[in-house]
């Protein structure tokens, strides 16, 4: 190496160093452009809601846009085969581990299923030892009113606090450094069958909390709390008067069917709205530029449609609201007068991208109904609705009216079975969140293929007990598979590739990265890395129990990229794996057992966090 070569080598090294610094800066503080930021390698015209997940994971989806995309790229398609276990930790609670850990600065935070302990792990030390554990001590009676296992879907970090919900309807804010309780607010009451499983989301100084329990005659709502004090700021119900629903003069739904006075009262038989369900147990998105939050609502109560004639607003509705006042900007009821339990609480993925020749602000919603909906998130107009799994309850969607073209044969009634309805209540996908990569333009959907027989039955309302009114039996759908991870080309409205699972649904969330690797898990317990472009499985590792949680990725204090996932089967479809559910009753666990018979032979309950690295 002569002097010139040395100089060049030094310059090259400096260049690499400079690039590394730039990337490092880019990862710690992504450049912002309006409400969007530039992701290295993103397709032309695609912009994401800022900030991107980058090196930490401070909110449930990693970003406000709910893309679950991280630009981290140390782990890529070439080297992912070298991934190995860096640390494991048992939570000691063998129930469904839905949700995902947070990473803030040098600490990882894990919220367990009931009793909802918060465990802090020190990422600066080998093996990530426990720093502290916080016990909120929720009321054990909450276990008896939780519809679908005793799950929790995670926490948010804001203002020095880890904020999350307990099964017995308390929102707690815990000092992120000390593990001491800062404030605690009751947001519901288990006496009336209310539970809280969703992950709180913090926008500015507002903590947004939903609810669960539409199988017990509760009234769905979002409660907004002050991030500093926990004081309730506003509450927006999904049934009742316009005042209760926080519908004011700014409310401009795109479709005529969603306009009118007090629809939350007039689209029900008298009084039924009080037991009307429409809970908010999924994910909340936020667009900082439009200053709107987006979320979907659950099934109307009771499950028997004959007991609640009318459209049953605002069940199964996507809302756009101002986070500070709570007032609605628009609403789109996806399914009027639900007869299948098609909750649409799924993630709303916010992306700006070219759509039929023009860049539009999109809201992408892959739903239980079996359709991928693409909406204009400024107006609530449905731009497309395309089936992504076998669907026969509706022939299609009328984009002019915003209404599904329902097959009346597939609508159940009291004492009458609707036979062979696809998808089943658990949907073309469940709450388990998809991920969008701006580098491919694909939405990676964890999908199901199950069908059902569904009959309405009469039922009495007894506070704090199930208010179900249906007999449901599910079974595998057509085509010889029960689940698949699919890449869905959003702009071209079609499936690009998929990895099928013959025996079980895909019930884990999905993560995409700047390394063009897609991470997800199977209910049997295989944690996988997949090529984002081709769908080729690049790496897989069998963890201790089925996966129903969501993968996350972060940069450790050592500057290295890690990937985290929970093992621990459970949740609604996973409940059949738990010892308290028998497989000789296809109607058990709200009808899912018939489709999940194989699970006990494939996995057992678990309770472990896994962290992988290169």
């Amino acid at each position: 190496m002569d002097g010139k070569q040395k100089l060049m080598a030094t310059a090259a090294r400096a260049g690499i160093l400079l690039m590394a610094c730039v990337i490092g800066v880019a990862l710690s503080a992504p450049p912002e452009k309006g409400s969007t930021n530039d992701i290295p390698g993103e397709l032309p015209g695609i912009h994401m809601v800022s900030p991107a997940a980058a090196g930490q994971w401070t909110m449930p989806a990693g970003d406000y846009g709910n893309t679950r995309f991280s630009p981290l790229n140390q782990i890529n398609a070439q080297n992912v085969k070298n991934l190995h276990v860096v640390s494991t930790m048992s939570t000691g609670i063998p129930h469904g581990h839905e949700g995902q850990p947070l990473v803030v600065n040098d600490t990882m935070y894990v919220v367990t299923p009931f009793p909802n302990n918060l465990i802090a792990l020190d990422l600066t030390k080998a093996g990530f030892p426990q720093k502290w554990i916080f016990h909120p001590n929720p009321n054990i009676a909450a276990v008896g009113v939780a519809c679908c296992d005793v799950v929790n879907r995670g926490a948010s970090y804001a203002d020095g606090k880890i904020i999350y919900n307990t099964l017995d309807d308390h929102t707690v804010a815990v000092d992120a450094k000390t593990g001491k309780l800062v404030w605690e607010t009751a947001v519901g009451d288990i006496k009336f069958g209310e539970t809280t499983t969703m992950a709180a989301v913090v926008v500015k100084n507002v903590v947004l909390v939903g609810d669960s329990g539409a199988e017990l005659g509760v009234r769905g709502r979002v409660t907004a709390l002050d991030v500093n004090t926990g004081k309730i700021l506003w509450r927006a119900f999904n049934s009742g008067s316009d005042a209760d629903a926080r519908i004011g003069p700014d409310f401009k739904p795109f479709y005529a069917k969603d306009r009118g006075k007090d629809l939350g009262l007039t689209t029900w038989n008298p009084g039924q709205w009080k037991l009307g369900g429409g809970t908010v147990w999924g994910w909340i998105s936020y667009d900082p530029e439009l200053n709107l939050i987006y979320y979907g609502t659950g099934n109307p109560g009771v499950w028997n449609p004959d007991m609640r004639p009318g459209d049953n607003k605002w069940s199964i509705t996507i809302w756009a609201r101002n986070p500070e006042t709570g007032y609605a900007k628009w609403a789109f009821q996806v399914v009027p007068h639900d007869s299948w339990d098609y909750d649409e609480i799924m993630e709303n993925v916010l992306v700006d991208m070219p759509w039929q020749g023009k860049t539009r602000k999109l809201l992408i919603h892959p739903g239980r109904t079996g359709f991928v909906f693409v909406l204009d998130r400024e107006t609530g107009e449905v731009l497309s609705a395309d089936k992504f799994e076998p669907v026969n309850w509706a022939k299609g969607f009328n984009l002019k009216t915003g209404l599904p073209d329902i097959d009346p044969e597939k609508r159940s009634h009291t004492g009458h079975y609707a036979m062979h309805v696809c998808p089943s209540s658990t949907g073309g996908k469940e709450f388990v969140p998809s991920s969008f990569s701006p580098r491919t333009g694909y939405l990676y959907i964890p999908a199901h293929n199950t069908c059902m027989d569904y009959m309405g039955t009469s039922v009495n309302y007894i506070a704090g007990t199930p208010y179900l009114g249906a007999t449901v039996r599910m079974y595998p759908g057509p085509g010889g598979y029960q689940g698949e991870l699919m890449a869905w080309d959003v702009a071209n409205k079609k499936k690009v590739w998929s990895i099928k699972d013959a025996d079980l649904p895909v019930y884990s969330g999905v993560l995409t990265t700047g390394g063009d690797v897609v991470f997800y898990g199977t209910m049997e317990g295989w944690f996988r890395a997949v090529d984002a472009h081709s769908g080729k499985i690049l790496w897989e590792f069998k963890i201790s129990s089925g996966i129903v949680g969501n993968p996350t990725t972060f940069l450790g204090p050592d500057g290295k990229q890690y990937v985290a996932i929970y093992s621990g089967v459970g949740g609604w479809m996973g409940a059949t794996a738990l010892p308290s559910v028998s497989t000789d009753d296809p109607y058990a666990a709200l009808g899912t057992v018939g489709a999940m018979k194989q699970i006990k032979a494939k996995t057992q309950p678990g309770d472990t966090l896994y962290v992988f690295g290169l």
Binding site: P390, M419, V459, G477, G479, S580
Partner: protein, 193 residues
């Protein structure tokens, strides 16, 4: 203890006091021993020294008594083998929303399966009755004030029939053409777009 204080002199010398204390201690120990013996022999003997004093009687023990097992009279279901009770129990299982929690045929869900061999709080008639009437801590409501005793026994009869040839069908099981496909046959791909 009641008898110890009565043995103690009001104005005693240190020596007397010591002697009295000694006597008190012996008296106390002997009474204690008596109580212990009485306890192991059964409740009735406990009341004897009490009856000799002016103090209030010791209440009869409720609940488990320390010592060897005692055969308390159990409550058997008065409706055992009654086919009407089984049918009524099946109907009430839906009527009181038991099926919502425990599953359409009691295979579990929000609440545990009642079909399997695991009984968290006992499988005897009176234990199942108590689970329904008094409730259990993990969310089983207490129904004792809401469901008449006769109906609780009907529910117990139905629960105990599960998995046997006596198990009744659900009351709303539909007519022939509405019976769910017993083979679990799924629609063909042509049927579903």
């Amino acid at each position: 203890m009641f008898s110890v204080s009565r043995l103690r002199a009001r104005h005693a010398s240190p020596l007397q006091h010591a002697a009295h204390t000694h006597a008190s201690l012996i008296a106390f120990l002997s009474i204690l021993a008596g109580v212990l013996v009485a306890a192991t022999m059964g409740c009735q003997t406990v009341s004897k020294p009490v009856a000799a004093s002016s103090s209030p009687p010791v209440p009869t023990a409720i609940g488990p008594i320390p010592g060897p097992p005692v055969n308390l009279p159990g409550r058997a279901n008065p409706l055992v083998g009654d086919p009407v009770a089984l049918q009524d129990g099946r109907r009430l299982f839906d009527w009181y929303n038991c099926s919502g929690c425990h599953g359409g045929h009691a295979g579990g869900g929000m609440g545990p399966s009642l079909r399997d061999k695991v009984w968290l709080y006992g499988h005897k008639d009176d234990q199942i009755f108590d689970s329904i009437a008094a409730g259990r801590s993990k969310g089983m409501p207490s129904w004792g004030t809401k469901i008449p005793e006769h109906q609780i026994w009907e529910l117990v009869a139905y629960i105990k029939s599960m998995g046997t040839t006596q198990e009744p069908d659900p009351p709303v099981e539909p007519a022939d053409e509405m019976v769910p496909d017993p083979t679990g046959k799924t629609p063909s791909p042509e049927e579903v777009q």
